[in-house]
């Protein structure tokens, strides 16, 4: 019977929710708050769910878990988000009430790293442009140069050598790239060359890959100065956050040929993308899909389910 299953209040909803619901509908009674316009107490009434019956929340940044939400649920004990960040959760209030906050770890680092390499090779070898070209007509004309450039020997500057940056480095080393990086702190356990200054990193790189989180310090970390230092042969790949790059400047640099090309999975104002990029062959655009693989989603679901299991059985 539905009422015997533990209630799970769902906010957001998380992108993985359809998958989660299809796999775990036998374990929870889902209260889909994300599709209601009512305030939480009224919503719970319509679901015949007493506020004290709600001990768990599943959420994502689309719908914040505010102090109000928390206070409406006196028995709340666990809040799980399908993201690494918890900015959308009032973690201070959770701490005060002893509510466990569960975030994702680095399950999706390989997928995001794969995306970074995919974008880089695509820009280097014009794969998407080639696919567009080949699918235009039943007889393709000679493909005009200049075209690609092999990865071997290219100097790749990684901005943010965390889990994702580390996975990118590992993959590109297999292509004989030379890895360098900029991070808040030098990492003594890696042998890659560290640059404390991003402009210096860019001056010495052929490729910049952005893998760091967005903070006050990293906003626009790639600005006009950095792009000019990277130079006309340089390529930028962004799998971090759109606002790591001064997007207006990036568009100008791409259109004027101040940099060679860019592979972008993230943008300043998603899902809006500067239209000027749509006519360029030296950019590859992706709809923030770095972690949107079935494997990744399944891992995220399992991680969350395990956390709930542990909570409900304790």
């Amino acid at each position: 019977m539905d009422s015997e299953l533990p209630a799970l209040l769902v906010l957001g909803p998380p992108m993985v929710f359809n998958l989660f619901q299809s796999h775990y509908s036998h374990k929870y009674r889902f209260l889909n708050f994300f599709s209601s316009h009512l305030p939480l107490p009224q919503f719970l009434q319509t679901q015949h769910a007493h506020p004290t019956s709600v001990r768990a929340i599943l959420c994502n940044p689309r719908q914040p878990v505010t102090a109000d939400v928390i206070r409406s649920l006196p028995s709340l004990g666990i809040v799980a988000t399908t993201t690494v960040g918890a900015d959308h959760i009032d973690t201070a209030e959770c701490r005060r009430r002893g509510i466990q906050v569960v975030t994702l770890g680095s399950q999706f680092a390989p997928d995001v790293a794969d995306m970074a390499v995919a974008l880089l090779i695509d820009v280097m070898f014009k794969i998407s442009a080639g696919d567009r070209f080949a699918k235009k007509s039943i007889h393709f004309k000679p493909w005009s140069f200049p075209s690609g450039s092999k990865l071997g020997g290219k100097r790749v500057g990684i901005i943010g050598l965390g889990r994702i940056g580390g996975e990118v480095a590992k993959r590109l080393e297999a292509f004989d790239c030379i890895i360098m990086y900029h991070s808040r702190n030098k990492n003594p356990s890696v042998s890659y060359t560290f640059y404390s200054n991003v402009v210096d990193l860019a001056s010495n790189s052929d490729v910049l890959v952005l893998c760091c989180p967005l903070t006050e310090q990293t906003k626009y970390i790639v600005n006009k100065e950095v792009m000019l230092a990277l130079g006309k042969g340089g390529i930028i790949v962004n799998v971090g956050r759109g606002a790591l790059i001064d997007e207006k400047e990036l568009v100008q640099c791409l259109m004027k040929g101040e940099i060679r090309g860019a592979g972008l999975d993230v943008f300043e104002n998603e899902p809006n993308v500067p239209k000027e990029l749509f006519s360029l062959d030296n950019v590859v655009l992706s709809p923030h899909a770095g972690a949107i693989t079935l494997d990744c989603f399944m891992d995220a679901c399992e991680h969350v389910a395990k956390s709930f299991d542990a909570f409900f059985s304790s």
């Binding site: 390989p110 696919d131 699918k135 292509f175």
Partner: protein
């Protein structure tokens, strides 16, 4: 050297054609219809033929050139050249190995990622404005998958090395098992296809490997399997491939080569699980220039009586 006559029978980088023109007495028969006229006037003086992946001397042409000493190919694949005839007639043959290995391997990984992660489709999705309506769908992770390599030569090995950086498992099929290899060997292509997620065709085209990817192999690869062809179009039974993709018996394909280039099967244009490239293969300026230099250097060495740099025959 300006008086040495050379015949060009395949499409090559403009730089190469220009250099050949500068250094030699260059004749062209890239279009087969030009052949008769060139042979009529110059057959008895031609000492070298420059070939490429788009055209090479068959037995008839070799027979028609009594002074032919060397065929230098602007490619690593020599399926367009009648090697047996060259051997019989004592004609040397050179190709361009190694210089393009890295590029082709890089491109192969790029193609795999483009298919599995739907990179080209994602790019289309953004450019068309569809992202405003909703997120793109779930795609398939590449890292950790099993890669099957058909032909563990230079290119196959380079692909394997890169795939290991993605924690992929590697298996292969070759004419003969390689005792020094750490990868798992399968004695047949069907078994290889049955046991991998992505199958890469990286072997030379010979009569034995013609249509080596047939219906049986494609079915073994299956509805979740992906075929990547960076070899020659004739490695694959193209009509079978097309019907398998249309019917969903094969999960996806990344193709840089086609049976009847530059003809591309139109039925594949609308498929989001298919990436098509106009035979870019070794298409970097650096590589193609290096290949061109290798052709020129081999010819020069030959005419100076020095050892050939990259002889096949």
């Amino acid at each position: 050297m300006g008086s040495i006559s050379i015949l060009l029978v395949g499409k090559v980088l403009p730089y190469l054609e220009q250099e050949l023109d500068k250094r030699y007495n260059l004749f062209r028969a890239i279009d087969p219809s030009q052949r008769a006229a060139v042979l009529r006037d110059h057959a008895s003086s031609i000492r070298a033929v420059v070939a490429s992946s788009s055209g090479g001397p068959d037995a008839a042409l070799i027979e028609a050139l009594p002074k032919l000493e060397i065929v230098s190919s602007f490619s690593v694949g020599v399926d367009r050249i009648d090697l047996q005839k060259c051997k019989e007639k004592g004609v040397r043959v050179t190709n361009t190995p190694d210089v393009l290995t890295d590029e082709v391997a890089d491109l192969t990984i790029g193609l795999i990622l483009a298919v599995l992660r739907r990179i080209c489709e994602c790019d289309r999705y953004v450019r068309s404005g569809n992202w405003k309506k909703g997120d793109y769908k779930l795609t398939t992770k590449f890292s950790g998958k099993t890669l099957g390599i058909l032909g563990l030569g230079r290119i196959g090995a380079a692909v394997a090395k890169r795939a290991e950086g993605f924690d992929c498992s590697i298996c292969y099929y070759s004419r003969n098992e390689k005792p020094d290899s750490k990868y798992k060997y399968y004695p047949s292509v069907v078994e290889l296809a049955s046991n991998c997620d992505v199958l890469v065709v990286a072997c030379p085209l010979t009569p034995e490997t013609h249509h080596i990817i047939n219906r049986e192999v494609i079915n073994a690869l299956g509805p979740k399997g992906v075929l990547i062809n960076i070899g020659r179009g004739k490695h694959v039974d193209e009509p079978e491939l097309v019907s398998a993709l249309l019917e969903g018996r094969l999960g996806g394909a990344g193709l840089d080569v086609f049976e009847k280039e530059p003809h591309v099967p139109e039925e594949l244009f609308g498929l989001e699980n298919v990436v098509l490239l106009p035979h870019v293969g070794s298409a970097t300026v650096e590589t193609r220039t290096a290949m061109a230099d290798l052709v020129l250097d081999n010819l020069e060495a030959h005419f100076l009586g020095k050892p050939l740099l990259t002889p096949l025959v």
